[in-house]
């Protein structure tokens, strides 16, 4: 598996760090009624056998956070883009 960083081009796996499912959303507040939302965000995962959007960081390269659309069964990569935050910074 090799990942094509939008900044640096196709690079080997050793240069990347993995964070996991990019779908889970951090709750906006710490209000007590958000406890379940926090639990789900920190601990629960869909863990699909198939396509998943996930966060990777090109830690051994440009350092950008990426969203990689990848099949967890075939390892096929459909798209790689910078996260919103990384795009904002690039502007």
């Amino acid at each position: 598996m090799r990942i094509k960083c939008p900044v640096c081009g196709e690079r080997p796996l050793e240069e990347y760090a993995y964070r996991g499912d990019a779908k889970v959303q951090r709750p906006r507040t710490h209000a007590p009624d958000q406890a379940n939302a926090w639990h789900d965000y920190v601990y629960l995962r869909d863990n699909p056998k198939g396509r998943q959007k996930e966060h990777w960081r090109h830690s051994g390269g440009c350092g950008a956070w990426l969203v990689v659309d990848r099949d967890t069964y075939t390892h096929e990569i459909f798209s790689v883009r910078l996260t919103k935050a990384a795009r904002r910074r690039a502007k």
Binding site: M1, Y18, D21, R45, N47, E54, T72, Y73, H75
Partner: protein, 458 residues
Amino acid sequence: MFSSLLHQVKKFQWPLNQLSLINPNAIVRCVRQDKCGDRRFMKYSALNLLRQAMGGHKDWPRAWRDPEPKDAYDVIIVGGGGHGLATAYYLAKNHGIRNVAVVEKGWLGGGNVGRNTTIVRSNYLLPEELPFYEWSLKLWEGLSQDLNFNVMFSQRGVLNLVHSDAEVDAAVRRGNAMIMHGADAEFLSRDECVKMVPGIDDKNSRFPVYGGLLQPRAGNARHDAVAWGYARGADGYGVDLLQNCEVTGITRDRQGRVVGIETTRGKIRANKVGLAAAGHSGHVAAMAGLRLPIESHKLQAFVTEGLKPLVDTVVTFGHGHFYLSQSDKGGLVFGASLDGYNSYAQRGNLPTVEATIEAAMHLMPSIGRVRLLRHWAGVMDMSMDGSPFICKTPIDGLYLNAGWCYGGFKATPASGWCFAHTIANDEPHAYNAHYTLDRFARGYAVDTKGVGAQPNLH
């Protein structure tokens, strides 16, 4: 050994057709009547070996049946790996629940139970885990006798090397925790480690060996035999082992209670369904709308060409997850870290191969010229705190056995034993009481390694 053989011979009930010695066809009917009921199979014993030898070994009965699925069972276990088969065995043996099916999408033992590096140990630290793993080790110690199947459990010891003062302290603390829970542990000096494993590099200046924590009762076993032994044992009690039968759905009634499963071999009813699908736990639980605190990752293992006896224990390198043992065929067996990203592919990537070999060279440079024969990967159910689940679920009638990470082989006997207890009594045994799904919400994570909710780091 000899006395136990005699013991088995004594327990053997001579069949009426003793003449089977001269009539090989009659041997098949020679079944053992177990004390606790009608457990039927031909016992593996020196005597039966002799009888079969005289008949040219043509009349060994098959080790388990290949039945058609019935319409309904009392309990269905999803997954014919070590844990599923052990659960069925103990449901029948300990709780008298024999109307049970184990449903396996492939063949028995084709999952992780047949892919692991077979290390069995109870050198844990936390009070939530030590009693469980020590109970498992105790069950291992009697397993071949219990199953009447040689699982080749070899208590050759597991030696965890440490490489700094801080690691010495941590290892001694762990050893003391083990001893306090009735397990065995010894701290070995550097010289004792080098004496025990002559090949280790004691002059490594980057990772010098400071000593090691040894658990003498730990060791390894033959993985296939564990699956086959439990399969044969469960079948002997009447459990149906349904192979090539993939679960595709979990059926629930209006109240949400589980009432059965859908499979590639048709619908099967049961009011209790236990999931033991290891790496596919999340996939199977999703059929009941359940999201789990689990990610599936892959783990690789390696075996080299056969060598003369070199290492007679299991030795682990403290920097980078790496361990080594020698199989009975002579190959060195290596285990390593996860590849690090979610995956259901049972094949690994090369960076991990490289990292593993680097660790091997740090530990034992003398094996540098040995050739690797094979390497493979299995899909791990990595939980958010590195600890398993053996519990009820929020869904009535659905039970979960999952989250074994890369340490579930050693747990096989206790996992099946505790899961059977939980399914039969609708409540956990003290050994698995902490392994619940709601422990994160309640603030009781069992964080073995202290790395938090990042499964690829456990």
